[in-house]
């Protein structure tokens, strides 16, 4: 039975949660000194430890612990004063020891939150835990039509990724977001990504797999106060997919319940191409990971002073920056969101820092420059124009040297590589005509050419002056200062 998302939300209340795996940007792996560079030739970044050779032993990368603590602090978590790694035992060919070194009931960071902004509202997403573990190798599935594991004849395993440090960030279940659940889920991952990027702990590239999400979703009848059976959707590897996966799972589960059936607690796979989830292969036996404390590693007990020094070194986080900018620039949350979503926060802030007003900086970066970036399919920050250039252009407009149309031409010139704004103004001869005698001649010509309009203005219809201003601007090929033209017209006709 197919149920639309809107129908589903009329009857059911969704709850979602996210488990996000993030590869840390350490130089070396979690437990050995192999490099972590992406895209190396297969099995060139391996050693006895990350190949799980008999006799090899892990040693913890201190930087990975520090990064995990940074993340925990940024997510308002408590940092464990003592915790251990544990072995998670299961057999799989891409896991060289057939156990994964992870953390079980003693995670490094617990019980925090992340405030996320969506649709102008702030939602507090609880963080259950942040723990460290090691990544697995990567398999290439050969034979079969799709390159997928299903139908493959055999697989080829590359262990370069094996042992790369991962943090797993697990939210608490997020209830009460109703219709907005998919958007809140997406906004959480977006905010998390921004936090991680700000912290400098990961390159957070979802397309390269350095950030991967599993989405838990359940629904229950509205007003029932109960929570439904949840499913875990794996393989959700873009921001858009997070939103689509939650939406599609809510609709699917509503269909199941409407048909009088039960939602099965299971793993599901998200398909980017179709936007739907399908059931993971059912398991013949219930999984029992037989966790136990990793005997090859000693406990981690971060000293208070170490945690304090990490806390002191945290950069300004996105939420604090949001509060600061909203206040300093007198923005609404929606205005802030549009700046952030355009990826223009850094450049606007830098432009303000070199003297432009926040309003001017936003106007140029979100307007003309955002259009240019969009045309080129790049981020605004990637345009070949600096915040100083934009501030200078804004200053020239403010001084009356340029008007908006000329300013856009200057921007074109800078983007074309013709030099600084001043050089472009010089080379293209773009300064506003500010000589009143030249303008007065043009104004008189315009009045003479449009006697009927002039009559209306004289009669008190000041708004009609616009037509005359337009005529003057046309005659001066846009190089006149429009407000001054308007003043002169009104003077002549008063």
């Amino acid at each position: 039975m197919t149920v639309t998302y809107e129908e589903a939300l009329q009857k059911y209340e969704p709850v979602f949660g996210l488990e996000t795996h993030v590869e840390l940007g350490t130089r070396t792996k979690m437990f050995c000194g192999c490099p972590t560079a992406f895209g190396a030739e297969p099995n060139t970044q391996v050693c006895p430890v990350c190949l799980g050779l008999p006799g090899s032993l892990p040693v913890v990368n201190q930087r990975a612990i520090e990064f995990a603590i940074r993340i925990g602090l940024a997510l308002n978590c408590s940092i464990a004063s003592w915790c251990r790694f544990a072995r998670k035992n299961y057999f799989y060919p891409d896991m060289p020891k057939n156990f994964q070194i992870s953390q079980y009931d003693e995670p490094l960071c617990t019980d925090g939150y992340l405030d996320v902004l969506t649709g102008g509202e702030t939602v507090r997403v609880g963080i259950e835990r942040v723990h460290l573990e090691e990544d697995t190798g990567k398999s290439l599935h050969v034979g079969g039509a799709t390159g997928r594991i299903q139908g493959a004849e055999y697989s080829l395993v590359d262990y370069n990724r094996s042992g790369i440090p991962l943090v797993e960030i697990v939210t608490k279940p997020v209830p009460g977001t109703g219709y907005l659940a998919p958007e809140v889920a997406r906004a959480y991952v977006t905010e998390l990504r921004d936090v991680l990027r700000t912290l400098g702990v990961s390159d957070v590239r979802m397309e390269e797999g350095s950030m991967r999400c599993d989405v838990n979703t359940s629904i229950a009848a509205r007003g029932s106060g109960a929570w439904g059976t949840r499913t875990e959707t794996k393989n959700v590897n873009s921001l858009r997919s997070v939103e689509r996966a939650v939406r599609s799972e809510i609709s699917r589960q509503a269909g199941v319940l409407d048909a009088g059936e039960r939602v099965v607690q299971e793993t599901r796979h998200f398909h980017e191409d179709t936007g739907v989830t399908t059931s993971g292969r059912s398991k013949e036996e219930a999984q029992d990971y037989r966790y136990f404390p990793e005997p090859d590693l000693v406990p981690v007990a971060p000293a208070d002073e170490w945690v304090s020094s990490i806390r002191a070194s945290l950069p300004e986080l996105p939420s604090a920056r949001r509060a600061r900018l909203i206040s300093a620039w007198s923005l609404s949350e929606l205005e802030f969101e549009s700046l952030r979503n355009a990826g223009a926060l850094d450049v606007v802030e830098a432009t303000v820092a070199v003297g432009a007003s926040p309003a001017d900086a936003r106007k140029w970066w979100l307007g003309e420059l955002a259009r240019k970036a969009n045309d080129d399919g790049i981020e605004v920050s990637a345009l070949p124009i600096t915040p100083s250039d934009v501030a200078r252009i804004a200053a020239l407009v403010k001084a009356g040297t340029l008007n908006d149309r000329l300013a856009r031409e200057v921007i074109d010139g800078v983007l074309w590589g013709e030099g600084t704004p001043d050089e472009v103004v010089e080379k293209r001869g773009l300064a506003v005509v500010s000589d009143d005698s030249a303008l007065i001649a043009a104004v008189d010509e315009a009045i003479a050419a449009h006697p009927d309009v002039a009559e209306k203005v004289r009669g008190g219809k000041v708004a009609a002056a616009g037509a005359l201003v337009g005529a003057v601007m046309k005659a001066t090929r846009g190089q006149a200062d429009a407000p001054r033209v308007r003043e002169l017209i009104l003077e002549r006709l008063s």
């Binding site: 297969p42 040693v59 913890v60 990368n61 201190q62 055999y154 590359d158 000693v298």
Partner: protein, 97 residues
Amino acid sequence: MAITRDEVAHLARLSRLALSDEELDHLAPQLDQIISSVAQVQEVAAEGIPPTSHATGLTNVFRDDEPVACLSPAEALFGAPAEELQRFKVPRILVEE
């Protein structure tokens, strides 16, 4: 009886051991005897006693985030039962876990 033959068979599957019927017949009663014997630990009054996983009492043993030399692919793949495209070749994988 501490453990049944069926339970032993289940544990063997969990540990990826394709035990034959004869092996199960042989090992199950031995395991039953061993488990009955080790169950003595349950007699110990241990309430409030912390568990020991590591006898050394060491904590915070770390390495610096400095790269060291890797194995060459040839060394890494030297003992591989099968290889292709500089990767370990393994039979088709049936289940995802």
